[in-house]
Symmetry: C2
Subunit: 418 residues, 2 copies
């Protein structure tokens, strides 16, 4: 098969479909979403059978257990997919929202209208439920989507795509609004990211190396999420009990998420009071502690941290700890070493809180709260298509609004420029 | 000189300076701006002398008259620069604005804070006043800037940069907040656009070929403005007198701007009533008319338009004209052929107006108004750093807000995730 021609055709169909979905009403989009859920519900057995094929092929190829687990669709995972689609249908439609409409001295009214981005390319790895999540969010936000999942999930993704297409069709909508790339060859990704004529933005989901490669090669803008080296700074004016509770929650509630705490900074003035107690708690959670020399002197269970540790996202029960002179050093250390994902301060001092909020350059900045809150659902965005560590367009969790943009609208009554 | 090392050092200094300017108060930034204006006022003679050097070198090299004109600084152009800086100082500071702060069911408050982008690289051609405009807007929006002007303006740009640095210095601010690239070799541009570690966004200003080359080579996100193939559609329900006035204004008020009308669409039902009168007016303005077969049959002064004409930004007294069956065909033609810059409809029909507003996918969409209004000042943004024909981040005129982004902020009181 000619991969270049195949991908160009997919792109061209997506561009046409994007004009259809952009003008669909909220009711039409919700009907399509609910039809897709119905279709998945009815095709549950077909879906699970297709997934079994992928699992069998994966085992044959010797995929790791963790990968096979992510690949697997179970009854409860299918139920979550259905629940997810219905939640997206229930969200407010961002498209068409008009804001800031004001009269100008010339007599024209100028405002902004929220509009879809157009065609969104999603590149992801083994989890087949991403097919469904991404398609729902793009559809609700008025975008056409080209989905390129992992080759190991191709049968599952095809089966899900069939359900999506049948749902679109029964709602009277263009079936190319959601397209799954049927080619498992990597060259297909290369074509997708090099086609600015037909693709408006690429959202890669997966490991850091995949995302870095895509970003470096893409001719299309990328909304990307790299790592989450998240910090908590315990200020000299922090409340001890709140700080203990937040630090333990941020590190131990879940080890593998991008908003898990990876590096703890403690103001020197409060360190003798809090660090021994806090480290005891971490040790009782089996968290390995790696600290600066001062921390090691204070707490014997702490190993030496290397320069590398300050930049590392462990995604594991390991925590780096550094004693800093105060707010200034904490902010400098964070802006130098963090991945600009999520950072939090524990403080009862108003000025310190305000300075931290303003001066820390990360996508989420928190006061007296666990970094684990950095999540689309917790922020009230509904589902999220990912978390952006970029600075342009969208920072932090990306929900429906992040899949849209704003154009200017001008209302006149025969106004001319003089 | 080692260009790579020079540009890397510039970038690294800009990154450090960006942290200083990001936390500057509004008063500090305004003081710096007014000091820069004072410094330019005092150095007027030095500036004009440096500019004379550039002009002499340009004449020697045989630069075209139009280029030499753009390169020239006159007393009145220096006055405009001063006026521009003072206007930017008078604009509201977008940085630090908090919006949408709401309580979530978990008890945390979640909102957004407007923040600078960081380091902005501006690549432009001969006009030295861009140095001053771009520096002012970036400074006010809390960003550090690296300015790379045309080699033919290097002496003028250096002289302006000296004034900017002295203004920053006398306001007690880091002088690397604004840096001018002193190397005229093109390789410097290559280094600037390939340095995502130190540069957050590139804004190229200049001809389409320059911008396309930069976009294609950049490893840093680009906010770009390509061409402005702007349309006016006269609907069957349009008011004739308003339409005549708007069409003439959109085309003839200025021929060389990106929001000048380039292609006129007329609903067939109204074409016999309006086109002969309108074409007479255009002819009396010496506008060359190129139309579809139907238009040619109706008006003898109209030449035949080729397929190429529907996609062309003339920037000249030439207009393409097409008779369409109605709204549907007009929208389809625009979405197919326009450069997604600015399009307007003349109509008295509410539903047609609403559909045009919603379905035309351009950065500015207008009802009953001249396309010539697509401009930062007319929209109330104050000065603009450019107009974006991109879909991500910013569409249309880009003012101070377009040079910022929003991060999430979370306020808690020891809240943890359960």
């Amino acid at each position: 098969m000619d991969i270049k021609a195949y991908m160009a055709e997919l792109g061209s169909k997506a561009r046409i479909a994007s004009r259809h979905i952009a003008k669909a009403t909220t009711a039409q989009k919700n009907e399509a979403l609910l039809n897709i859920a119905d279709s998945i519900k009815k095709s549950r057995d077909t879906l699970l059978a297709a997934n079994q094929q992928d699992l069998a092929a994966g085992k044959e190829k010797g995929l790791e257990a963790a990968l096979l687990d992510r690949l697997e669709l179970t009854d409860s995972r299918v139920n979550s997919m259905l629940e997810g689609i219905r939640q997206v249908a229930a969200l407010d439609d961002p498209v068409g929202e008009i804001s800031d409409l004001k009269y100008r001295p010339s007599g024209i009214q100028v405002g902004r209208m929220r509009v879809p981005l157009g065609v969104i390319g999603i590149i992801y790895e083994s989890r087949p439920n991403v097919t469904c999540e991404a398609a729902s969010l793009c559809l609700k936000s008025g975008n056409a989507t080209i989905l390129r999942g992992g080759s190991e999930a191709i049968n599952s993704n095809r089966a899900i795509a069939d359900c999506i297409n049948s749902g679109l069709d029964s709602a009277g909508m263009n079936e190319h609004i959601v397209q799954v790339v049927e080619i498992t060859d990597r060259a297909a990704v290369g074509e997708l990211i090099a086609n600015p004529e037909h693709v408006d933005v690429i959202i890669p989901r997966g490991g850091k190396s995949l995302i870095e490669r895509i970003t470096s090669d893409a001719q299309v803008p990328v909304i990307k999420h790299l790592d989450g080296n998240c910090h908590l700074y315990i200020d000299d004016s922090a409340n001890i009990e709140k700080s203990l509770s937040v630090a333990i929650n941020a590190k131990t509630q879940r080890y593998g998420t991008c908003c898990t705490l990876e590096s703890l900074l403690v103001a020197e003035a409060i360190s003798t009071e809090i660090l021994p107690r806090l480290c005891d708690k971490f040790v009782s959670h089996d968290v390995e502690l790696r600290g600066c020399i001062k921390t090691q002197k204070l707490v014997s269970s702490v190993k030496a941290a290397s320069e590398e540790d300050w930049k590392t996202e462990y995604l594991a029960p390991i925590l780096s700890i550094k004693i800093v002179s105060g707010l200034e050093e904490a902010i400098d250390h964070i802006n130098e070493h963090s991945s600009q994902h999520t950072e939090s301060i524990m403080t009862e001092d108003h000025e310190h809180a305000q300075r931290f909020l303003r001066e820390v350059d990360s996508s989420s900045v928190m006061i007296n709260a666990s970094t684990r809150f950095a999540d689309g659902f917790e922020y009230g965005l509904g589902a999220e298509i990912g978390i952006s560590t970029d600075k342009l367009h969208a920072r932090g969790p990306v929900g429906l609004e992040g899949l849209t943009s704003q154009k200017f609208i001008v209302l006149g009554d025969g106004h001319i420029r003089t």
